[in-house]
């Protein structure tokens, strides 16, 4: 996997707004964005030339540290496909996917997944696949030279594709480019036909070794990327972001990295914090923290992104955001997948927890409720509903055996009296015996009521009560039988 535009895209990821941007390496243009090239900027140009041709261009000095961090973030993200990822020369990454092919639905599918993940992170990528790592690396570097054949499985076809590649692609041969051109050796195939001993004497041992590794004639050894013990990733945003939803694009990049980290550590996330940093220096504003807690540990990108989206939708930013930081604060070991042969028709309890979290993230905890009845005669106390994300399932308490209506009014409606009868739309007839509720003297919410079922001229049923506090008697409507 080769990232040809890494120096540029570490400043301006693909998802940021297009604009002329130039990265200089020692006062020479190293990379320029498409808009800058259109304006006339060419590679190797000096700073002065760039500023004359395209005065509005954003000019950056090449930053090796920044590139390294970006490459690390790509590596972390790719860890979700294979635990074996290694850095290679010239902004490249090597992945051993031998063991992952079946898990991700074959070569083609894995290719597509890895490509889209890196594109999501905001980097242009050239991918190739070959039986040897060095061969794959050469193919990715070659880019347009290798044509459409980027996925090779058999050694013979790899040799066939490698032979016509220009030999200066091998990094160790770069200093000997002119000499090789002088003797008419242009492709890797030509290079292999040269006498090995002479080549070794003139260009050093490394050339032969690299060549042998590419053609599968020497073993390859790698230093696999090691993941940190705790996850904390930071992202400097290319522009200031004023609205919370704009943060989402940057956050997705961090979430992708976190998922790679979680996968390779076999952990699931329970709680994470998104820190949005504002202006530093003199007008420093303290960063905004967004803490996301999950009822059920998860590691799926889609779920985490949806939760974050809803939470960000409710957030109002006090100041523009210039950087993002994501920290995994609580993780638990990943639960093994279910072993049951047939999936349950109603999904798993974890699926339901995800639904609850999603609803609560947008609507607030108080708006997603489950019943938690209390053994009390007062209907408004008995009918308790608790927020679903935190509520534990409780056993059904002993309830009054009298009939209760399904709808209860939030606050009882006082009824006017007409002809000695309560009136609600029409005169109400009381039906059946009264249910007397007198309780609550112990907690200051005393109720002294007689409940009746009542019916108006329309055949609908009401639940009304007569309050007997004090001298006068008042009638209230408290429920509807549905």
């Amino acid at each position: 996997m080769h990232l040809p535009l890494l120096p540029l895209e570490s400043y301006r990821p693909r998802w940021s707004e297009p604009g002329p941007t130039v990265v200089l390496d020692g006062d020479r243009v190293l990379v320029a964005s498409q808009q800058a090239v259109d304006a006339g900027v060419r590679l190797g140009m000096k700073r002065g030339g760039v500023l004359t041709l395209c005065p509005q261009a954003g000019v950056h000095e090449r930053d090796h540290k920044r590139e390294e961090t970006a490459l690390q973030s790509v590596a972390l993200c790719l860890l979700q496909y294979t635990p074996e990822v290694a850095f290679a020369a010239r902004h490249s990454l090597l992945m051993d996917v031998t063991a992952s092919l079946r898990a991700f639905g074959g070569m083609r599918n894995l290719f597509r997944l890895a490509k889209s993940a890196v594109l999501d992170l905001g980097f242009t990528v050239q991918l190739s696949m070959a039986p040897t790592a060095q061969g794959a690396w050469l193919l990715a570097q070659a880019g347009s030279f290798s044509g459409k054949r980027r996925r090779l499985v058999r050694m013979e076809s790899l040799i066939r594709v490698l032979n016509p590649l220009p030999c200066h692609l091998l990094p160790t041969l770069y200093p000997h480019q002119e000499w090789l051109a002088g003797i008419g050796c242009r492709t890797l195939g030509d290079l292999r036909r040269l006498p090995r001993a002479g080549l070794k004497r003139r260009c050093g041992e490394d050339v032969l070794e690299e060549l042998d590794r590419a053609y599968g004639q020497a073993p390859e050894l790698f230093h696999w990327v090691e993941t940190p013990e705790v996850f904390a990733a930071k992202l400097e945003l290319p522009d200031r972001i004023d609205h919370a939803e704009g943060v989402l694009f940057g956050a997705q990049r961090l979430i992708l990295q976190m998922i790679g980290w979680l996968t390779v550590r076999h952990r699931a996330i329970e709680q994470f914090v998104l820190v949005m940093e504002h202006e530093r220096g003199r007008q420093a504003v303290p960063p905004t923290l967004l803490e996301v807690r999950l009822a059920e540990a998860a590691w799926q990108e889609m779920h985490l992104m949806r939760l974050l989206k809803e939470r960000l939708g409710r957030l109002v930013l006090t100041a523009p955001v210039i950087a993002l930081r994501l920290e995994a604060t609580q993780t638990v070991p990943m639960a093994p997948p279910t072993t049951s042969l047939f999936p349950e028709p109603g999904g798993t309890p974890a699926d339901f927890q995800r639904l609850i979290e999603l609803l609560a993230a947008r609507l607030g905890d108080d708006c997603v409720l489950v019943p938690a009845l209390v053994a009390d005669h007062r209907p408004e106390v008995c009918n308790r509903w608790l927020p679903a994300p935190t509520a534990k399932r409780i056993a059904l308490p002993e309830l009054p055996s009298n009939e209760r209506p399904f709808w209860m009014l939030e606050s009882p409606i006082a009824l006017i009296m007409r002809d000695e009868r309560p009136f609600y739309g029409s005169s109400l007839r009381l039906i059946g015996p009264a249910e007397r509720i007198e309780c609550g003297w112990w907690d200051g919410k005393l109720v002294v009521r007689d409940y009746f079922v009542a019916q108006g001229t329309e055949p609908a049923w009401y639940w009304v009560y007569r309050e007997r506090l004090g001298d006068d008697i008042r009638w209230y409507l408290h429920g509807l039988f549905a």
């Binding site: 999904g347 609850i356 997603v368 509903w385 009939e403 009014l409 039906i431 008697i473 039988f481 549905a482």
Partner: protein, 247 residues
Amino acid sequence: MGFVHSSATASSAASVAAAVPDVWRANQLASYRTSTVATGHVQLDRELPDGGWPSRTLIELLIQQPGIGEMRMLLPALRRLAHRRIALVQPPHLPQAAAWACDDFPIGNLLWVKTQRSADALWAAEQILRNGTCGALVFWQTHVRHESLRRLHLAAQGSDMVLWMIRPIAAMEDASPAPLRLALRPAAGGIRVDIVKRRGPRRDNPLTLPLDDMPAVHPSFTESDHALVDQHASAAVAARVVPSALV
């Protein structure tokens, strides 16, 4: 050729229908081609295609006002679905779970979603349908645009849930993508059901479903009984004494 002949004779119409399931005759009830849940009311089952509430379908119930027995009508079907969760989105009043606890309804499986804006309610309904862990969704909405209804119907088709949408009866005149629409009005001792739209022949005269468990529906109850009860109650008020048996 013989096949065509037999279809011409009315007597063997049933055998044709059995042999060619794709042929629908205008006087027959069609099929929703999904699983159905019996409504628990024999009269209603007879009138609905496939004999019950269809799943994966937007069912519209147009009610005159809340509290006319609409939940009692749904209760038998909800009880069949209650092994999974039942979501109530934006109900018009507080649902009193104790009302169903007496009927051995697993009320722990109820989920009440309150929303402030109708856009939130539609979003919540769509998420619940998409998640698919609930068995049924009852969704109250007063004003809803035609596109939103279509969207809900599409979301319902992707799930295996039963979706009832409860709207005011004034919406009866509006066009709707729902394949099944019923108008509900109160009736003595039950509920009056007008089938506004179904896959099948039109039915003009309404159906009256008896809801036995609506309160105090007693055949022996007459007007004189009511008068007596009323008198008795007011006498009790005057004396400020209620027989202790009621306490």
